[in-house]
C-alpha cells in the first residue's frame, strides 16, 4: 500500500458522514476519495502527521453533539470592542453574535456565492477537499465599497467538548469592496476536556485599494486539533496584513495563501509561535505574485520548548508578469530544549527577471553569552532569559498596527515568557 496517501478507516468514516450531492460538494468528495488523506510520505504534510493524529483522537462516525453555551464572556478579548461572530463547534450562532448591521453584510454561507471554492484549491489538498465536500456552516461577509468598518470583526471559534469530542468543517467567504477597510480576528477556545477538531476554510476577495488586516490567535488551552486554509485574493493597490500567533493547541496547521493579482499590491505576513509541551504548529504560507510592482514581506519567528514542534514552509511565486516585484521572507527560530524541533523550508520560484527577492531562515539556541552579560549586571538568569526571548518576539509584535491588539498580544507573550521586567 502506498504511504503517500492513506486509505484508512478514518477516511471511510468521513466519507460515510457526507451525503452525496451534486455540484461542487460532489466534485470535492470525489477528489477527497481520489487524493486520500495525507500519509507520512506526503510532501506537504511530511512533518505534520495529521491523519494519524485525527485517527487516534476522534471517532468520525459518531454524530455531532448538542451544545448549550449561552455566554461567551470569558473568551472575549479584553478592552477591545468588536463585531462579535460566534461559532460553536463550527456552527455559526446568530444569537450569540452581535455586530453592526450597517457596516457589515453577513449571512449564512450557502455555497452559491460568487467565487466560492475558486481560491481554496480542493484538487491539491485533501483537507480542503474534505471541507469543500462536508462544510456545515459558515458566513458570507461583505463590506461595501468605500466603507471603513470601525470595529474589528472577531470570529470566536469555540469548541464545546464537555459531552465528548467535537469535529467541524466551517466555511467562510469574505469580500471587501473597493477602497474599503476591515480588520478580522480569529480566536480559538475550548470548553471541556475532550478533543476538538476544526477544519476552517476561508476565502477572501480584496478589491482595488481595499485594506484587510487578518489576525489569528491560537492560544487554546484545550485539546485543539486544527486545520485552516485561508486564501486571499488581492486586486490592484490593495493591502493585506496578516498576523498569526500560536501559543497552544495539540496540532495546528495553518495554510495561508495570498494571491497578489493586481499591480501595486502590498502584503505583510507575520507570525509568531511560542510553543511548549507537545504542541505542534505548522505554518505553510504562499505568496503568489502575479502582477508587477507589488511588495510582500514575511516574518515568522518561533520559540520552541519542551517536546514541541514547529514547522515553517514559505513559498514565494513570482510569475512571469510580475516584474518589479519585491518579496522578502524570513523565518527565525530559537530552540529551548533538546527535544524541541523545528523544520523550516523556504521555497522561492521566480519566473520574472527584474525582481528583488530574498529569504533567510535560522535556527539556534538561546544566546548564553547574552544571558551571562545580563546576569553580571545583577539580573537573575530567569529574567535575563525572558528579556532576550521577549526582545526576539517583540520584533514581530511591533508590526501590529492596532494598538489594542498589540497590547493584548503583548500581554499574552509576556505571560508565556515569564516577563517580569
Amino acid at each position: 500500500m502506498s504511504t503517500l496517501t492513506e486509505t484508512t478507516p478514518l477516511l471511510a468514516d468521513i466519507l460515510a458522514t457526507i451525503k452525496p450531492e451534486a455540484g461542487i460538494r460532489a466534485d470535492a468528495l470525489a477528489m477527497l476519495e481520489q487524493l486520500g488523506l495525507p500519509g507520512n510520505k506526503s510532501e506537504e504534510y511530511k512533518f505534520t502527521p495529521i491523519t494519524r493524529a485525527l485517527e487516534k483522537n476522534f471517532a468520525f462516525g459518531d454524530p455531532s453533539r448538542e451544545t448549550n453555551i449561552s455566554n461567551i464572556g470569558e473568551f472575549l478579548i479584553p478592552d477591545l470592542e468588536g463585531n462579535i461572530l460566534v461559532f460553536i463547534n463550527g456552527i455559526f450562532s446568530e444569537e450569540l453574535s452581535t455586530y453592526n448591521h450597517e457596516e457589515l453584510h453577513i449571512k449564512p454561507i450557502d455555497g452559491k456565492e460568487k467565487g466560492f471554492a475558486s481560491l481554496a484549491d480542493f484538487k491539491s489538498d485533501a483537507l480542503v477537499a474534505w471541507n469543500t465536500a462536508a462544510w456545515t456552516s459558515g458566513i458570507s461577509l461583505d463590506v461595501s465599497a468605500n466603507t471603513e468598518v470601525h470595529k474589528p470583526v472577531i470570529l470566536h471559534y469555540i469548541n464545546d467538548t464537555t459531552q465528548g469530542d467535537a469535529k467541524s468543517c466551517t466555511r467562510n467567504i469574505i469580500r471587501l469592496g473597493k477602497s474599503s477597510k476591515l480588520t478580522v480576528v480569529e480566536k480559538q477556545d475550548t470548553i471541556g476536556t475532550h478533543a476538538g477538531f476544526s477544519n476552517v476554510v476561508t476565502e477572501g476577495f480584496v478589491e482595488a485599494n481595499a485594506e484587510l488586516h487578518l489576525y489569528s490567535i491560537q492560544a487554546d488551552g484545550g485539546k485543539r486539533f486544527h486545520f485552516g486554509q485561508t486564501t486571499i485574493w488581492q486586486n490592484r493597490d490593495s493591502r493585506v496584513n496578516t498576523f498569526t500567533l500560536t501559543l497552544d493547541g495539540k496540532l495546528i496547521r495553518n495554510n495561508l495563501q495570498l494571491i497578489l493579482d493586481g499591480e501595486g499590491c502590498e502584503s505583510h505576513m507575520n507570525g509568531l509561535y511560542i510553543l511548549q509541551g507537545d504542541t505542534l504548529a505548522d505554518n505553510h504560507t504562499v505568496v503568489d505574485h502575479r502582477k508587477p510592482n507589488a511588495n510582500s514581506n514575511e516574518l515568522y519567528k518561533g520559540v520552541i520548548d519542551g517536546n514541541a514542534k514547529g514547522v515553517f514552509n514559505g513559498k514565494i511565486y513570482v510569475r512571469p508578469d510580475a516584474q518589479k516585484t519585491n518579496a522578502f521572507q524570513s523565518n527565525r527560530n530559537i530552540l529551548l530544549s533538546d527535544k524541541a524541533t523545528v523544520n523550516t523550508k523556504p521555497q522561492l520560484e521566480i519566473w520574472a527577471d527584474d525582481v528583488k527577492c530574498s529569504h533567510g531562515c535560522t535556527t539556534g539556541q538561546l544566546d548564553e553569552e547574552a544571558i551571562f552579560y545580563l546576569q553580571t549586571r545583577g539580573i537573575s538568569k530567569e529574567t535575563a532569559r525572558a528579556m532576550v526571548l521577549y526582545a526576539f518576539a517583540l520584533e514581530v509584535v511591533e508590526t501590529i498596527p492596532s494598538e489594542n491588539l498589540k497590547k493584548y498580544i503583548d500581554a499574552m507573550i509576556s505571560e508565556r515568557l515569564h516577563k517580569s521586567f
Partner: protein
Amino acid sequence: MLSIKNLHAKIEENQILNGLNLEVKAGEVHAIMGPNGSGKSTLASVLAGREEFEVTDGTVEYLGKNLLALAPEERAHEGVFLAFQYPVEIPGVSTINFMKTAVNQVREARGQQPLDAVSFLSLMKEKMKLVEIDQSLLNRSLNEGFSGGEKKRNEIFQMAMLEPKLAILDETDSGLDIDALRIVANGVNKLRNKNNAIIVVTHYQRLLEYIVPDYVHVLYKGRIVKSGTKELALELEAKGYDWIKDEVAVV
C-alpha cells in the same frame, strides 16, 4: 576586600590559572598585565562567574564571603562589576530598559525600594555625563551596531549606574582610539574613591597613563610572577615581556 589564594582554573581540559594569589584593598587600583594567553581574561571571567570556567583549587574571598559560591547576578548584587572585553550585542533590548531592570533587581536584593521612573531618569542623566554618552545611543538595542568606543563607553556607563565596590575592567582599552580611551579613562577616574577597588586587566601600558594604578602585577602562565608599582608597567612597555619569561624560566 578581595583575597585570592592559590586559584587554579581550567576551561574544558586547558588549565589556565595555576595558583594565583592577589590581595586587593578598598581604595586601590590594581593593574594585571601579561602576554597573550597568560590567563588575564580567565581571571576576569572567573571573578565574574562565567560558567565555562571550572575552579579546580584555591579560594576567592570577597568582603568576607566565598565569591565562588555566588551566581553571577549575586556577585553583582554584592557589588562586583565586570566591564567586558567584548560587550555583547542584544537585539531588541535597549540599554535604558535593561539598566532599569538591573538597577532595580540589585536594589531589591539589597532590600531597597525600586527607583521610580523619574528618579531613574535623573540618575541616568547624571551618569551619562560621566562617560559623555548620548541618550539616543542608550535608547537603541544594546550594543547593536555600536562602534568599539561606544561599546566601551556603554560599559563604563553601566558601571557608573551600578556603583560597584569591585570593578574589573577586562581589556577596556582594546579597540579604542586615543580620544575614546581618554573619555573612558576619565569616566573610570571619576568613579574611583576610597571605598571601591578597581582591577584593570590590560596588555598595554597605554591605559595606565590615564588610570594610574597603585600596583602592577604581571601574570604569566596562570600565576602572578612579578608585582610592583606603576613603574613596572613602564618597564614592561620599554622591555616587553620576554625578560619576565626569562626570569621565570631561571626560577
